[in-house]
Amino acid sequence: MRPTRVITVAVLGFLYIPIGVVIADAVDSDPTLNSWRGFTLHWFATAFSDARVLTDLRNSVLIGLCTAVLSAAIAVTTALGARRLSPRLSDLVNATTYARIILPEVVTAVGLFMLAHRVNIPLGFGAIAASHVVFCSAYATIVVQARLAALTRVYEEAATDLGATPWRVFRRVTLALLRPAIVVAGLLSFTFSFDDVISSLFLGGSQTETLPVLLLGMVRIQVTPEVNAIGVGVMALTLLLLGLLVSASSLRSVAGAPATRTREGVSA
């Protein structure tokens, strides 16, 4: 084999063998995971019948949903608002968006933790969701803004010209044309929220725990087959969302192209 191939295979192996091992361990009958003793789905059954796992899974999903909805709403309002501002002010707004992505998550997590402590906001479900919204809404804003930039104002002007009030223009035209981007932004936010550890750890308090935090706690003691089964479950859900995301972005092209891309006809 040529050296470049060797390197390629080594890199791919480094990236994917651990995932393969997790999947293999999740279906291995050997509880000590020292050898292969045959295929089983037993660990999935035990893992997902555990009350704590189920509670944490529910927490993760609900927090993810809240994060997705809030982030999408913030994204739409930010994108539409920034469009009305002068170029300088809108640059400033964009800077705050990028800052939420660039700043290390641990910094915002610690900051929110201190804030919650200082003004007596209870830690838990709401605090975790709020911390996820901080960075997820930034990604969502970028997605929605990109779509908005590709849409010319002419559709909104046409709707106004045809007698639609500003609110109706927003409902029937702006929002409708942004819908694919909003779906993508929501899915993206859910995914990021669902596998977040840092913010969830800081803001969960003693009562609320999410699935990734539980996993972290479990592997610290011992890597059991159940941990692998949960990992595979999380992976499956994430892949499912990724699939939805891809089909949603192809949906984007169906929902309409900017006015400049209309086809010029030869015959009428």
Partner: protein
């Protein structure tokens, strides 16, 4: 009855550029009126102010007797056919045409009937479920026309609606627009930079230049009796014969290198003024006894017509005539005499 009245309509942009400067205009109901002019002359801004999409800095807009200057765009009885069609990409042809009717809470059975008859009128009855992107440019334009007309506006605005279409399709659409306009009897205000298109369809045209109306009149008035050199050049090819006004009434001018002639011209010229006599190329003819002699500098065959450029001491004279009437021996370099009837001259200020 007056359909549209503009009084001192002015629009100055934030950076201080004046797009429209004090336009006064009256358009009678049912007229096909065109605003023409080079790009940047303010014609589209004027149209957008009529639609309510742009706010006038000063002046008033009256439509059918109502002052609309401060009325929001969505409350005006005026609808627009936009330059790039602006059909809603997420809606079908039917829903595009029905858009304004739904905003007006028209009962859905009525909507169906009105959309259907409007699509019939523009010749697209069988494409109701198609998305705009599945249609050709010409079809999209028809949908855009139907979408605005279905609301029975008092005034229909058209902003260079045929700009993106090829020549053959443009001709078809021009005929369609004229037919539809006659059928519905609505006032059309049409914006274009193509004077030929405007001439072929309009009852009257206004030529705009640097935010002002340079001239308003019927196409033949504007073409044959232009108010200025700018208008003369914008609406067609013109030969310019410079000279001086000799007497104002009756108008007589002394043309440089040609001599004194009596001619018609714009009012207000005074003896001693520098002036230019406009001579349309089709008024020039090959004539052995003509006033003008030179050589052939160029000969271009344009199909039915042939254009010949004559030259004498750096002065150029362009002549067009039916191709069959241009002698074949009139080749580049050959000497030629040309002449015209002084009645075909039109004098404007220099």
């Amino acid at each position: 009855m007056t359909s549209v009245r503009l009084e001192g309509l002015t629009r100055t942009f934030q950076d201080g550029t004046a797009a429209v400067r004090g336009v006064d205009l009256e358009i009678p109901a049912g007229e096909f009126f065109s605003l023409i002019g080079p790009s940047g002359c303010g014609k589209t801004t004027t149209l957008r102010m009529l639609a309510g999409l742009e706010r006038p800095t000063a002046g008033r807009i009256w439509v059918h007797g109502a002052d609309l200057t401060r009325v929001a765009a969505h409350r005006r009885p005026i609808h627009t056919v936009f330059q790039q069609y602006a059909l809603f990409p997420h809606l079908s042809v039917f829903d595009n045409v029905a858009f304004g009717l739904k905003e007006r809470r028209v009962p859905s059975s009525d909507i169906k009937a009105r959309v259907g008859s409007m699509l019939d009128l523009v010749g697209l009855p069988d494409r109701v479920t198609a998305r705009p992107r599945e249609l050709s440019g010409g079809m999209q334009q028809r949908v855009a026309l139907a979408r605005a007309l279905v609301l029975s506006p008092q005034v229909l605005l058209l902003d260079e609606p045929l700009g993106a279409l090829d020549l053959r399709l443009r001709r078809q659409m021009q005929i369609l627009l004229k037919t539809v306009q006659r059928e519905v009897g609505i006032t059309f205000v049409y914006v274009t930079h193509d004077q030929e298109e405007a001439f072929s369809m309009s009852d009257r045209v206004a030529v705009m230049h640097e935010g002002r109306l340079a001239q308003v009149g019927t196409p033949d008035e504007v073409y044959e009796h232009p108010a200025s050199l700018f208008v003369a050049d914008f609406v067609g090819t013109s030969n310019r014969l410079p000279g001086t006004v000799v007497s104002a009434g009756p108008l007589a001018v002394k043309l440089d290198g040609i001599g004194s002639v009596s001619a018609d011209g714009v009012p207000g010229l005074a003896a001693g003024d520098a002036c230019v006599a406009i001579l349309r190329p089709e008024s020039v003819r090959i004539d052995p006894d003509g006033q003008w002699s030179g050589t052939v500098a160029d000969r271009s065959y344009l199909g039915g017509q042939t254009s010949v450029t004559l030259e004498s001491d750096g002065e150029r004279l362009i002549l067009t005539a039916a191709s069959r009437k241009v002698p074949p021996d009139l080749t580049v370099g050959s000497p030629v005499r040309a002449g015209w009837d002084p009645a075909d001259l039109w004098v404007v200020p220099a």
